[in-house]
C-alpha cells in the first residue's frame, strides 16, 4: 500500500486559477475529503489525479509511481493509472447492462471470463445488488445506480478510489443512509479514497481527514474534529457549522489564558490561546451550540443581549441575539426567553483567529 501524494498542483483555465498550489498527502487506506463551496476547485483537483485534466504544474504520485510531473512533462493517460472513479452523474453507460458496465474495465485487462464473472458477482454482493447483473441502468433507482457506479469503480481493484459528490443526486433521506454505508464500504476495502463534497456534514461524518478548500487553495487539512473545533481561519469556521464572530483586542495575557476585550466593556477569557500579545486585534469565533443561557450571573464570560429572532430546527432552537459585542447565533435545546437574556460563552469554546482573514 502506498500514499497518494500531491505536490504543488496548479491548474489554470485561461485567467482562472482553478487549483492554486495544492499539496496533500492521502495516507494509504484512508478516506480524505476535499470540502469547499461550489467552484473552489475540488473537481479540477480530482480530475488532475485521474488524468482527465493536465495540470500546469505539480507532481502526483501513488506508492512511488509518478502519475503526473508537469516539470518533467510526465503525464500518464487516465486509462493507465489504475484508478476507480465515481462521477456526480454516476456516468453509467446507458446502452450496457450492469454486468457489461462492470465488465468493461476487466475485459480491457484481458481477464478470463470466469474470473470476470466471479469478481462482478462478488462486488455486486458487496454493494447489496447481487443478482442485478442483467438490469439496465434505467431500470434501477437512484440509490442503486449510485451503488453500481461504486461497484464499477472498485471492481478492477484500483489503487485509489476517487468520488466526485457521489451522494449529491440522492434524496436527503437516502443520502444519510448512504453516508454510513459508504464509510463502512471504504473501511472494509481499506482503499485509499479521495472524496469530493460541498456538504460539510457529509465530509465530517465519513472522513479520516478533511481538506477545506477555497478559491483553489487548501486552507486547512486535518481530522474532522480538529477542523470543527480548531478552525484555522475565519473562512473554515464560517463554512463549517453555525458560527458567530466577534472582533476584539487582546487586553491581557496570563497563565496561558488570554483576555480579549470585545465591543463595549465586555472582556472575554480564552483558554486555548495561541501566542498573542496584548494590544493585538483578533477575531473570536464561537459555535452556536456552545453558547448557553447563563444561570449564574457571576460566572465568567457572561454577555448580555436581546433576542431578535428565532427559528425552530426540529430538536433545537436557533436564535439571533443582539449583544454589545455583536450579533450572536445561539443554538439551544430550550427556547430562549423573549427580551433580555444573559449568554455564557465558555472560555474553551472560543477560537482565536487572525483579524483580517476572509470576510
Amino acid at each position: 500500500m502506498g500514499d497518494l501524494v500531491i505536490e504543488g498542483l496548479v491548474k489554470r483555465y485561461g485567467p482562472v486559477l482553478a487549483v492554486d498550489n495544492v499539496s496533500l498527502t492521502v495516507p494509504a487506506g484512508k478516506l480524505v475529503s476535499l470540502l469547499g463551496p461550489s467552484g473552489c476547485g475540488k473537481t479540477t483537483t480530482l480530475n488532475c489525479i485521474a488524468g482527465l485534466e493536465r495540470p500546469d504544474a505539480g507532481v502526483i504520485r501513488v506508492a512511488g509511481t509518478i502519475l503526473t510531473d508537469a516539470s518533467r512533462r510526465i503525464f500518464l493517460p487516465p486509462e493507465r493509472r489504475r484508478l476507480g472513479m465515481v462521477f456526480q452523474s454516476y456516468a453509467l453507460w446507458p446502452h450496457m447492462t450492469v454486468f457489461d458496465n462492470l465488465a468493461f474495465g476487466l475485459r480491457l485487462q484481458k481477464l478470463p471470463r470466469d474470473e470476470i464473472r466471479r469478481r462482478i458477482a462478488e462486488v455486486l454482493e458487496l454493494v447489496g445488488l447481487g443478482g442485478m447483473e442483467r438490469r439496465y441502468p434505467y431500470q434501477l433507482s437512484g440509490g442503486q445506480q449510485q451503488r453500481v457506479a461504486l461497484a464499477r469503480a472498485v471492481v478492477s481493484q484500483p489503487a485509489v478510489l476517487l468520488l466526485d459528490e457521489p451522494l449529491s443526486n440522492l434524496d436527503a433521506k437516502v443520502r444519510e443512509q448512504a453516508r454510513f454505508w459508504l464509510r463502512e464500504f471504504q473501511q472494509r476495502l481499506r482503499i485509499t479514497t479521495v472524496y469530493v463534497t460541498h456538504d460539510q456534514a457529509e465530509a465530517l461524518a465519513i472522513s479520516d481527514l478533511v481538506a477545506v478548500m477555497s478559491a483553489g487553495k487548501v486552507l486547512q487539512y486535518g481530522p474532522p474534529r480538529e477542523i470543527y473545533e480548531r478552525p484555522a481561519t475565519r473562512f473554515v469556521a464560517d463554512f463549517i457549522g453555525a458560527t458567530s464572530f466577534l472582533d476584539g483586542i487582546v487586553s491581557d495575557r496570563s497563565n496561558g489564558q488570554l483576555r480579549v476585550r470585545v465591543g463595549g466593556e465586555i472582556e472575554l477569557c480564552v483558554t486555548s490561546a495561541p501566542t498573542r500579545q496584548p494590544g493585538e486585534p483578533v477575531v473570536l469565533a464561537v459555535r452556536a451550540e456552545r453558547i448557553a443561557l447563563a444561570t449564574d450571573g457571576n460566572a465568567v464570560n457572561i454577555v448580555p443581549g436581546v433576542k431578535r429572532s428565532q427559528v425552530y430546527l426540529g430538536s433545537r432552537y436557533q436564535s439571533l441575539v443582539e449583544t454589545p459585542a455583536g450579533t450572536l447565533r445561539v443554538e439551544t435545546a430550550i427556547e430562549l426567553p423573549d427580551g433580555k437574556v444573559h449568554l455564557k460563552l465558555p472560555p474553551e469554546s472560543l477560537v482565536v483567529l487572525p483579524p483580517e482573514e476572509g470576510s
Binding site: 500500500m1 488524468g51 493509472r81 485509499t192
Partner: protein, 568 residues
C-alpha cells in the same frame, strides 16, 4: 477483496489513438485542400495546368474583372439570389408561424408537405416546373387559351427566383420552427392580454423574436442561391440568362479553347466572397445561441386562435403546396409516361413506356442509376462514419489540432459544388498516379463526401455534444483509450443520429449533380449528370423518366428510413 497496489497498468500494446487521429486529420486536410490547391495555382498561372512551362501572373484576374460579360453575370446572379432570398424567407417565415403557432387544421400534415421540396433535387424541380409553367407548359397553354396571351414568363429572373423559392422555403421554415419551439409562447399571451389581436401579436412579438433565425436563414439562402446551378441552367439558358454557376459551366464545356485561367480566377473570387458570407453567418449563429439559451424551454401550449382566418390560411398553404410542388411533380411523372403532354390531348391516349425503356435499355443511362445508388448507399456510409469521427475528434478528444479541424470540416460550405467538381478534376489531372481513380465512381464519392462534410458533421455533432462527458471519462478511467471509448461508448450512444445522418447523406448524394458535372466520365455517370446530358440533347421525355425514377428512389429511402426510425 483488498486493493493491491501495483505500478500503473502495464502497457500491453501501444495505443493507436494518435496514429488514427493523425490519419483522420490528414484525410480531412487532404480532402478539403485537394480541389482548392489546383484552382489557386491555375488562377495565378499564365498557361493551363497541364502545361509544365507556366509563370506567375495576375492577368487572369484582370482579364475577368475587365470583361463586361463577367459583370453582367455577377449582376444577374446577385439579382437572382436576392429575389430568391426575399421570396423564400418571407414565405418560409409566414408558413412557420402559421404551422407552429396557430390553430391551423391538420398542422402535422402541412408540416410534412412544406418540407417536402427539401428532399427533391432542384434539378428535378426545374424540369418539373418547366413541364407545367414553361412556355409550352401544361398550365401555360391552358391559360394562354383562356386569356389570349402568355400569362407569365418562367424563363426570366423572377421566374427562376420563384422556382428557387420553392426549393429554399424549407430552410427558413425549419430554422424558424426550431426557434419558435424554443421561445416562450407566453410572450404572445402577454401581448394578447395587453389588447393586441392575433396578427398584431405576431407582428409585435413573434416576428421580432424570430429575427436571429430569419437573418440566419436569409444568409444561408442567399449563399446557396449564389452558387445554385440547376434552376438557372435549365430555366435561364433558353432565355440567355447566365448566373455565376451556369457561366462557369458554359466556360468549362466550351470545347476547343477552354480558358482555364478565367475559370480559376472566377472560382477564386467566388470562393472568397462566399467565405466572407459564411463567416458572417457563423458569427450570427454564435449570437443566436446566446439568444436561445436566455429564453427558457417552454412546454407547448394552446396555439393562437385565428378565428375566421383559420380556413383561409389553410387554403393558402394548401394552394401553395398544390401549385408549387404537387402539380409540377405530377406533371413530370405524367410527362415521363406520355409521348406528348399538352392540355390539347387526352394524356391517356398517348401513354407510353418508351421513355423508361430508353433509360433502362441504354447502358450508360442505366449505369448512371446504379452508380447513383452505389455512391449514395456506400459513399453515404463511409461519409457519415468519417464525419462522425471528425466530430468526435473535434468535441471529444485531446487532439492538439481539434479546433482547426472543426473549422476545416465546416469550410466546404464556402465552396460551390461546381467549383468542387472543377477542383477535383484538375487535381486528378495534375497529380500523377491518380489517373486510375479519375474516371471511377470513387472520384465522385470523394468529391461528394468532401462537399458534404459540414452536413454530416452538423447532423451528428448535436447528438455527440448531448452525451455527458462523464460517460467517456468513466471509460477512460476504467482503462479504455480514446479509440476504445469511441468504439464502445460514444458511437453506440449516437447510433440514432448516425442513422438519420446516414439517411440525410443518402438522399443528398442521390440528388447531387453539381460537383459531378466536370468530374464524371464514361463509366462514372450519375442520375444528375445524365439528366443534364439528356436535357442538352433536348430529350425532355427521358429526362422526365429519369427525374421520376429519382423521385421514387428518394421516396423509397424516406419510407424505409421512417419505418426504421419508428421501429427503434
Amino acid at each position: 477483496m483488498t486493493a493491491t497496489v501495483e505500478a500503473a497498468r502495464p502497457v500491453t500494446r501501444r495505443s493507436l489513438d494518435l496514429p488514427v487521429q493523425v490519419a483522420l486529420a490528414a484525410a480531412t486536410v487532404a480532402l478539403v485542400f485537394f480541389p482548392l490547391v489546383p484552382i489557386l495555382v491555375q488562377a495565378f498561372s499564365t498557361r493551363p495546368l497541364y502545361d509544365p512551362v507556366r509563370a506567375f501572373t495576375l492577368s487572369n484576374f484582370t482579364r475577368v474583372l475587365s470583361s463586361g460579360a463577367f459583370w453582367s453575370v455577377v449582376g444577374t446572379t446577385v439579382a437572382f439570389a436576392a429575389l430568391t432570398t426575399v421570396l423564400a424567407v418571407t414565405l418560409g417565415t409566414a408558413l412557420a408561424v402559421l404551422v407552429e403557432r396557430t390553430d391551423l387544421p391538420a398542422r402535422g400534415l402541412l408540416n410534412s408537405l412544406v418540407i417536402l421540396p427539401f428532399y427533391v433535387s432542384p434539378l428535378v424541380l426545374a424540369f418539373a416546373w418547366a413541364v407545367i409553367y414553361g412556355p409550352q407548359g401544361y398550365l401555360t397553354i391552358w391559360a394562354r387559351q383562356l386569356i389570349g396571351r402568355d400569362p407569365w414568363n418562367l424563363y426570366s429572373i423572377p421566374g427562376l427566383a420563384v422556382v428557387s423559392m420553392v426549393y429554399y422555403v424549407p430552410y427558413t421554415y425549419l430554422y424558424c420552427t426550431a426557434a419558435l419551439s424554443l421561445s416562450d409562447p407566453q410572450v404572445e399571451d402577454a401581448a394578447r392580454i395587453a389588447g393586441a389581436g392575433p396578427l398584431r401579436a405576431i407582428r409585435a412579438v413573434t416576428l421580432p423574436l424570430l429575427r436571429p433565425a430569419i437573418t440566419y436563414s436569409a444568409l444561408l439562402t442567399f449563399v446557396s442561391a449564389l452558387e445554385l446551378l440547376s434552376i438557372p441552367l435549365v430555366l435561364g439558358t433558353p432565355a440567355g440568362i447566365r448566373v455565376l454557376a451556369s457561366y462557369l459551366y458554359i466556360l468549362g464545356i466550351a470545347g476547343g479553347r477552354i480558358d482555364y485561367g478565367a475559370i480559376a480566377a472566377i472560382s477564386v473570387l467566388t470562393v472568397a466572397i462566399v467565405t466572407a458570407l459564411v463567416w458572417v453567418q457563423e458569427r450570427l449563429v454564435s449570437e443566436e445561441r446566446r439568444f436561445v439559451t436566455t429564453g427558457g424551454r417552454a412546454s407547448r401550449i394552446r396555439p393562437m386562435e385565428l378565428g375566421t382566418l383559420r380556413w383561409l390560411a389553410f387554403a393558402f398553404v394548401m394552394a401553395y403546396f398544390t401549385f408549387a410542388v404537387l402539380l409540377p411533380l405530377i406533371g413530370i411523372v405524367a410527362q415521363s409516361a406520355t409521348a406528348f403532354l399538352s392540355p390539347l390531348i387526352n394524356p391517356l391516349q398517348v401513354l407510353t413506356w418508351d421513355n423508361y425503356r430508353l433509360i433502362l435499355e441504354t447502358e450508360a443511362y442505366r449505369r448512371s442509376i446504379v452508380n447513383s445508388l452505389i455512391i449514395a448507399t456506400l459513399g453515404g456510409a463511409i461519409g457519415i462514419l468519417f464525419m462522425a469521427f471528425i466530430s468526435l475528434m473535434s468535441y471529444r478528444s485531446e487532439f492538439p489540432g481539434r479546433r482547426a479541424l472543426t473549422y476545416l470540416a465546416l469550410y466546404p460550405r464556402a465552396i460551390p459544388g461546381i467549383i468542387v467538381g472543377i477542383g477535383f478534376l484538375w487535381a486528378f489531372l495534375l497529380i500523377p498516379g491518380l489517373g486510375a481513380v479519375r474516371n471511377t465512381i470513387w472520384a465522385l464519392m470523394a468529391a461528394f463526401i468532401m462537399r458534404y462534410i459540414p452536413l454530416g458533421f452538423g447532423a451528428v455533432s448535436p447528438a455527440i455534444l448531448r452525451i455527458s462527458p462523464e460517460l467517456d471519462r468513466a471509460a477512460r478511467v476504467a482503462g479504455a483509450d480514446w479509440l476504445g471509448t469511441t468504439r464502445r461508448i460514444l458511437l453506440p450512444l449516437v447510433r440514432p443520429a448516425l442513422l438519420s445522418g446516414y439517411i440525410l447523406l443518402v438522399i443528398t448524394f442521390l440528388k447531387e449533380y453539381s460537383s459531378a458535372l466536370f468530374l464524371f466520365a464514361r463509366g462514372s455517370e450519375v442520375i444528375g449528370t445524365t439528366m443534364i446530358e439528356l436535357w442538352r440533347q433536348g430529350n425532355s421525355g427521358p429526362v422526365a423518366a429519369l427525374a421520376s425514377i429519382q423521385i421514387v428512389l428518394t421516396l423509397v429511402v424516406l419510407a424505409a428510413s421512417s419505418a426504421l426510425l419508428r421501429r427503434r
